[in-house]
């Protein structure tokens, strides 16, 4: 096979196949998410933003940027990865992956790697676009990239799980639509959770997205809803949970083989 007994050729082939799919449909993969997020920048950043109070000393237009990037990162990671594995199941082309000398974790690395790459790229494009509408700075660029990569990876893994679990297009849509989007909206994209009444603030702390957005926003402006350590810790916990779930799925052959 090749170095370390890892099928690098397969990882590369799947990764490039998935990336090629993006370039084939740039409108759907890149332009449309960038455009829809830019609408928020225009409306909340440029139009309404100046009339809003600054939060923690950060102008409102700039305050919402990290949250909005996270929002796209979550939804796009899930959509990319879930579709990437669901579609071959749906069309039957998955037969080839199942018959190939590819370990499950190699397939996961390739599919999740591609999905995460796409959403990281998208996140960076959105960030660049944001600078056109709102003045902003990035205080801790290394941490910013770290949160970007961790979040993209974690939610691509999560999307991959959804893609395997889904046995119809409805199921493919239901988790992102009914769970992830609400959690992301209520996760402090548009406000600091300190602005909530105490009861709702406590409820919000059960929302994992809060930690992602808080940490990510800290890397921009040095202000956070929860401490950096907790943000990072929660992100890693969710990442580990997704890895464990995928390991279990493949060891039991769940839903891929009869």
């Amino acid at each position: 096979m090749s170095a370390l007994g890892i099928n690098w050729h397969a990882i590369r082939a799947i990764y490039l196949f998935e990336m090629a799919r993006t370039w084939r449909t740039p409108l759907q993969s890149i332009v449309s998410p960038v455009l829809s997020t830019s609408l928020y920048f225009v409306v909340f950043g440029a139009a309404i933003g100046p009339r809003m109070q600054a939060i923690d000393g950060v102008p409102y237009g700039a305050f919402i940027v990290p949250g909005l990037i996270m929002l796209s990162l979550l939804t796009q990671s899930i959509a990319n990865a879930s579709f990437a594995i669901y579609f071959p199941k749906f069309t039957g082309t998955i037969y080839e992956l199942l018959s190939a000398p590819v370990a499950w974790w190699e397939a996961v690395i390739a599919y999740v790697g591609a999905a995460a790459s796409k959403s990281i790229l998208l996140g960076l494009i959105i960030l660049l676009t944001a600078t056109l509408f709102v003045p902003m700075q990035i205080a801790h660029p290394v941490w910013m990239v770290l949160f970007l990569v961790l979040t993209a990876t974690t939610f691509s893994l999560f999307g991959f799980i959804i893609g395997i679990w889904a046995d119809g297009f409805e199921r493919l849509q239901v988790v992102p639509l009914l769970i992830v989007t609400p959690l992301a909206f209520l996760g402090g994209s548009f406000y600091s959770i300190d602005m909530l009444p105490p009861f709702w603030r406590t409820v919000t702390l059960f929302n994992p997205v809060v930690y992602l957005i808080s940490g990510f926003r800290w890397s921009f402006y040095g202000v956070a809803d929860v401490s950096l350590g907790i943000s990072l810790g929660m992100t890693l916990v969710f990442l580990a949970a997704c890895v464990a779930a995928i390991g279990w799925i493949f060891r039991t052959g769940y839903r891929l083989k009869s």
């Binding site: 099928n7 397969a10 082939a13 039957g92 037969y95 080839e96 190939a100």
Partner: protein, 308 residues
């Protein structure tokens, strides 16, 4: 020489509770073309799917070139190419990219010259930059074959390669298969067409209701096929075959009104002339005669009817 595939006591019960394979034992010899015949739902695709890693076995083992297909799946699968029964392709990919993709998936380094040869062999070279959705059904099937050949498998499974394929393409397919065999590739194909098995296979296996009911060299089958029957309608019934005719393979039928002589058409002498002379000598007269030959089809149908 060790068999290239050894299937031992293989069973499959699907989640529905349906038992698709019931303790199948089968060995495939290195370098042969093996035709698996069987009616719809017999378990052909299930058997192939287990060997190739698409379906989990419920019990039993499979060795591919000595490698257990589940414990040592990497070594086993890298030797196996599969052309599935269903035409499942990535509609938006080009022929070239989908075939190159398969090679990578099977852990082989890029080799454009080889892909070019495979595409030319399958008359797909002109279509290399065409999206698969713009190809005809027969071309799609060839793309699937090209994908399976892209990683130079030692064992090739063809699940009904000629279903829905025109005569010309079918003959191309047969040529391709014998060329592959000349290169040392072991080929296992399933088919409903008896003539396909007759034309190509070295050995024939018949599966029915999840059980292998016959495995035989094609030559042996053909020898059985080479036997013909001469049926004489007698004027008067016989109670038994006369002892002076014991040297001939004779049997009585139709309440003694018919005398059936079985003979080998490929033998140097069929023995018909002396038999007729001796019949005349024994005073046995007949008013009509006919000959018949059983085909592989007949054998197959009777096997499937009586089997299990």
């Amino acid at each position: 020489m060790h068999p290239i595939i050894t299937v031992s006591d293989l069973s499959k019960t699907y989640a529905t509770g349906f038992s698709a394979l019931k303790g199948v034992n089968l060995t495939i010899r290195r370098g042969e073309i093996f035709a698996l015949l069987g009616p719809n739902g017999a378990g052909k695709t299930t058997l192939i799917s287990i060997i190739c890693g698409l379906v989990n076995a419920s019990a039993g083992t499979v060795l591919a070139d000595g490698h257990d297909i589940s414990r040592d799946y990497r070594a086993a699968r890298s030797k196996i190419g599969l052309v599935p029964q269903e035409l499942t392709t990535d509609a938006f990919e080009t022929v070239w990219s989908t075939v190159s993709f398969s090679r990578g998936l099977f852990g082989k380094p890029r080799n454009p010259a080889l892909i070019e040869r495979v595409l030319k062999d399958l008359s797909l070279w002109d279509k290399r930059d065409t999206q698969i959705r713009r190809l005809s059904g027969g071309m799609k099937r060839r793309v699937l074959i090209a994908k399976a050949l892209s990683h130079e498998p030692e064992i090739l499974f063809l699940d009904e390669p000629t279903a829905g394929v025109d005569v010309e393409l079918r003959q191309d397919m047969w040529k391709l298969v014998s060329r592959l065999r000349d290169d040392g590739v072991t080929i296992i194909l399933t088919t409903h067409y008896i003539e396909e098995a007759e034309e190509m296979a070295d050995r024939v296996g018949v599966i029915s209701k999840g059980e292998i009911i016959l495995v035989e060299d094609k030559a042996e089958l053909m020898r059985k096929l080479g036997r013909k029957q001469l049926t004489l309608s007698l004027l008067a019934p016989l109670a038994a075959v006369p002892p002076e005719l014991a040297a001939y393979d004779l049997a009585l039928a139709g309440d003694g009104m018919e005398l059936v002589y079985s003979y080998d058409t490929k033998a140097e002498r069929t023995g018909i002339t002396p038999l007729l002379q001796e019949l005349a000598g024994a005073g046995i007269r007949f008013r009509d005669l006919r000959t018949s030959q059983s085909s592989l089809e007949d054998i197959f149908v009777s096997l499937v009817r009586t089997g299990s």
